[in-house]
Structures are given as structure tokens and as C-alpha cells.
């Protein structure tokens, strides 16, 4: 049924999401080509995370979300925190995916975790940066076609941000994957995105970052409150 010749791996038509009687996303439409990197930007509460959840089919929505047939999707959720009372080791976390030791090591290396001592460490005890890398490695282990990634800079100290960017760049190059990324960080958008979607309930702009992210559009998106590289959370 989905065997169309459009060459798109994802087609979104008039996507509407309401939660608790409130409209969160209104009338978003876009198409995504294979290997195209899409970044979704917008202020806090703009519906970015909700949009990813709709794409994953985790929440009800209206409109159409059509993925290419048999597509494999990897997902790195936002600010997942590991409660300290669960003594889950990194190795055990990977075993949830019934991965072989060889695959686990390979996957850890691909995200720059070359010291395998980390496998024996508790997930709740490693640094935020290491945790983020482990999450990426975990989502990549079954070789997805698309990686959905929610706010990779969240929860990581400022020193680590550049590394996450480099890491994304490396992943994109080495395994040739489509990345859909939700971010606050316009720096990453300029450097990594093929297309950007400015989301604040509605799609306020869409296209090549250099054109789409015009000063007027940014102003409209953040309603005049934009501090260009500010991405603090409240």
C-alpha cells in the first residue's frame, strides 16, 4: 500500500495533536527524503517532543504519518534520568536488546566509548555525557534507518555539547543514517540540518536552515524573546 515512488521515507500530512483538550500541534505537513537530516526547533512547550512521540506512534493524532514500509526507527528520549536505586549495569541495559558482546562493543566504539570498563558500571552512576552516548549506542545497535533524537544537549554540561555535535556528525558520516533531531541549539541546526522545521504549535518555517531561519522567522518563533545561543531549561 505504501509502495510509492516518491522516494520519501516519511510523509506527514496535516498532523494535528491534542492532549487533554488542548491543541498541541496544528496542521503540520512535510516530507522527508532518505538520508536527509531534519531538525525541529522551537521554544519550550512548542510541541517538539510531542511531535516525535506522534512520529513514533506513542500518542494519538489526527492527520497522516506515513513511514516507508518496514522502516527501522531508533529513538533517544529526552532527559531520561536513571534512578539510582536501580542497579542496572550498562551491559545489562544492552542485553535488553539481546545483543551479542561483539555488537555491544562495536556500538559503544561508534559513539566514542572505547573503554569497555563502562559495561560493568551502573547506568545511574556514569556521567551525563557518557549516559547520552550509551543511549545513542543503544538506539543504534539494531541498525535503524532513522534516528529520532530528542534534545541531545539537554542535561549535558556546556563542555560536552560540542562533543555531541561531533558525535552526530560522525554517526551521520559513518553509518549513513537519517536523523530527525529536536533541539534548542541553532548552532547544531546550521551545521547539521538539511532542512529545519520551526515549530510553535504550527509550522512557522520549513526549509534550508540558512533561508528558513531568517531573523524575522526566528523572531516570530521565539516571539521576540530570542537570545541566540540561549538554551537553558527552566
Amino acid at each position: 500500500m505504501n509502495k510509492d515512488s516518491s522516494g520519501f521515507i516519511l510523509q506527514i500530512k496535516d498532523l494535528n495533536v491534542s492532549l487533554g483538550g488542548q491543541k498541541i500541534i496544528e496542521g503540520v505537513s512535510l516530507n522527508l527524503k532518505d538520508k536527509e537530516n531534519l531538525m525541529i526547533v522551537g521554544p519550550n512547550g512548542a510541541g517538539k517532543t510531542i511531535m516525535l512521540k506522534a512520529l513514533l506512534g506513542l500518542i494519538p493524532y489526527e492527520g497522516e504519518i506515513k513511514w516507508k514500509e518496514n522502516i527501522k526507527i531508533g529513538y533517544v528520549p529526552q532527559r531520561l534520568s536513571m534512578p539510582k536505586e536501580i542497579p542496572l549495569s550498562v551491559e545489562e541495559f544492552f542485553k535488553f536488546k539481546s545483543a551479542s558482546m561483539e555488537k555491544i562493543r562495536e556500538s559503544l566504539e561508534s559513539v566514542g566509548l572505547n573503554d569497555f570498563c563502562i559495561l560493568k558500571m551502573e547506568l545511574g552512576m556514569i556521567s551525563a555525557g557518557q549516559f547520552q552516548r550509551v543511549m545513542i549506542a543503544w538506539s543504534l545497535i539494531d541498525k535503524p534507518d532513522v534516528l529520532l533524537f530528542d534534545e541531545p544537549t539537554a542535561g549535558i554540561d556546556i563542555g560536552g555539547e560540542e562533543t555531541i555535535y561531533n558525535l552526530l556528525k560522525k554517526i551521520e558520516k559513518s553509518i549513513n543514517i537519517t536523523i530527525i533531531l529536536v533541539t534548542h541549539d541553532l548552532n547544531i541546526v546550521y551545521r547539521l540540518a538539511d532542512n529545519v522545521l520551526c515549530l510553535n504549535k504550527k509550522a512557522l518555517c520549513y526549509g534550508n536552515p540558512k533561508e528558513a531561519l531568517s531573523p524575522e522567522n526566528i523572531d516570530k518563533l521565539y516571539k521576540g524573546e530570542i537570545k541566540f545561543y540561549d538554551h537553558t531549561h527552566d
Partner: protein
């Protein structure tokens, strides 16, 4: 050998409590992880009216407890669909009402049996039922354990892995009900909660990963039951409180070891 009552009754009690204690310790690691440590207690009390009826009309306590639990859970679920109250509050209501009903039904002479258990009432049929269900429940738990832990970390992550979280939650709740029903003859409704909380918590003190945590909980549950039943046969105090005290002492030891 003269002080030990080595008879079939002793072995019935020992085998039954070891199997139930082991699987309760294993289940406990999951319950403590999911911050449901007190659920065992609440469920134990909801079982009371059925246990009381079983004592009065002389049928199997395990069956009475199980019927009572199913009715209790159904009532909570019915209230849940008709009010905006949290499950916690509804459980509080049903659990208090269950205690009240049980006390009206029970002759006062049988109170102790129902509240803190009585292993001398364990018979051959109980042994078979307990061993059989303990093994089945352990196997089911072992299978759903990783999925439940993943869902505890993040519902979204579990759902994105196509894990049917609601289905596993239901299986898990039924398992808690079965374990409580099985254990109530040993520990009574007042103490059954201890068997899921204390061994698992003790294990958490000294474990570095989930394997050590869950199997440590199982091991400590088994050791507590062996020592508790052995102490009972030596000093003659009720086995339920002895099992709980042994596990509490083991918790203390692991706490000191951790320090």
C-alpha cells in the same frame, strides 16, 4: 536432634516457605525498583476477608485469599473508572474495609493465624500448590523482568521497542496477588509485605547490577525462610515473625557491609 521436630510437618513448612520466600525475594527486587514496596502489605490486607472465611468454613486459605484479592482488585478497578481518585486512595479504602469485614467474620481465637500466619497448618496439598506456582511464577517473572525494568526507566522507550506495557503491568499485578495468596499461610496478612520488601532491599545494599540484585533478593528470601523455620522448630515462637526478623537482621548486616 532431640530438640528438633524432624517430621513431615517440618519439611512441609520448610519446602513451602523456601520456594515462596525465594520467588517473593525475586519479585521484591522488581517491586522495590518500581517504588511499589508497600503494595505487598496493602494486597495482604485485602486478602483478609477471604482468609477469614477459609478459616471459619474450613477450606484452603490460599484459595480464600486469592478469591478475596480478585474481588478487591475488581472493586478498586470499578471505583477507578467512576471517580477521579488515585488508585492509592481507592486501595486505602478497600484495604481498610477488608480488615473491618475480616474482623467481624473471625472468631477471636483464629486472629493470630490470619494476621501472622501459622506454618503448622501447611499440608501436603499446600506444598504441591506452592512449589508448582512458585516455579511457574519465577519463570514468568524472569521473562517479563527486562521489559518491566525498561518500562520503569521510560514508558516511551519501552513502547518504542513495541513492548505492550499495559499487558505486562497486568501480568505483574496478578503475580503479586498470587504470591501474596501463597505466602499468607506462612506469614499472615500483617507480615506478608515484609517478604517482598526486606530481602530485596537487603540485596540492593550489596549488589552492583540487576542480576545480583534480583537473585540476591531470592537468596536472602530463601535464607530468611530456612533460618526462620529452623528457629521456630527450636524455640517454638511463631515462624512468620521469626522469618521477618531474620530478614531484618540480614538487612542490617548488608547495611553495615555497604558502609
Amino acid at each position: 536432634m532431640t530438640t528438633l521436630m524432624i517430621d513431615s510437618q517440618f519439611f512441609y513448612s520448610l519446602i513451602t516457605s523456601v520456594f515462596i520466600g525465594g520467588v517473593a525475594g525475586y519479585l521484591g527486587s522488581l517491586m522495590v525498583t518500581k517504588r511499589m514496596a508497600l503494595v505487598g502489605d496493602a494486597v495482604g490486607h485485602i486478602a483478609l476477608p477471604g482468609v477469614a472465611l477459609a478459616v471459619v468454613y474450613n477450606f484452603n486459605i490460599i484459595l480464600g485469599a486469592f478469591i478475596s484479592l480478585m474481588i478487591g482488585i475488581l472493586v478498586i478497578w470499578l471505583f477507578k473508572t467512576g471517580t477521579n481518585l488515585h488508585t492509592e486512595a481507592l486501595t486505602g479504602i478497600v484495604f481498610a474495609a477488608s480488615i473491618a469485614i475480616a474482623f467481624l467474620l473471625l472468631p477471636s481465637g483464629d486472629l493470630e493465624t490470619v494476621l501472622i500466619g501459622d506454618i503448622t497448618k501447611i499440608n501436603a496439598a499446600d506444598v504441591v500448590i506452592s512449589v508448582f506456582f512458585s516455579i511457574i511464577i519465577f519463570l514468568i517473572l524472569k521473562k517479563i523482568f527486562p521489559k518491566m525494568i525498561l518500562a520503569t526507566l521510560s514508558d516511551d522507550l519501552a513502547l518504542s521497542q513495541k513492548i505492550n506495557v499495559k499487558k505486562y503491568d497486568l501480568i505483574y499485578l496478578v503475580i503479586i496477588g498470587v504470591i501474596v495468596a501463597l505466602g499468607i499461610k506462612i506469614l499472615g496478612s500483617l507480615l506478608i509485605g515484609a517478604l517482598v520488601v526486606i530481602p530485596a532491599s537487603a540485596s540492593r545494599n550489596v549488589s552492583r547490577n540487576m542480576f545480583e540484585y534480583s537473585y540476591g533478593g531470592m537468596l536472602i528470601g530463601i535464607i530468611s525462610c530456612i533460618l526462620g523455620v529452623a528457629l521456630f522448630s527450636i524455640i517454638g515462637f511463631p515462624a512468620g515473625p521469626l522469618i521477618v526478623l531474620v530478614s531484618a537482621i540480614i538487612f542490617l548486616i548488608t547495611f553495615l557491609l555497604k558502609k
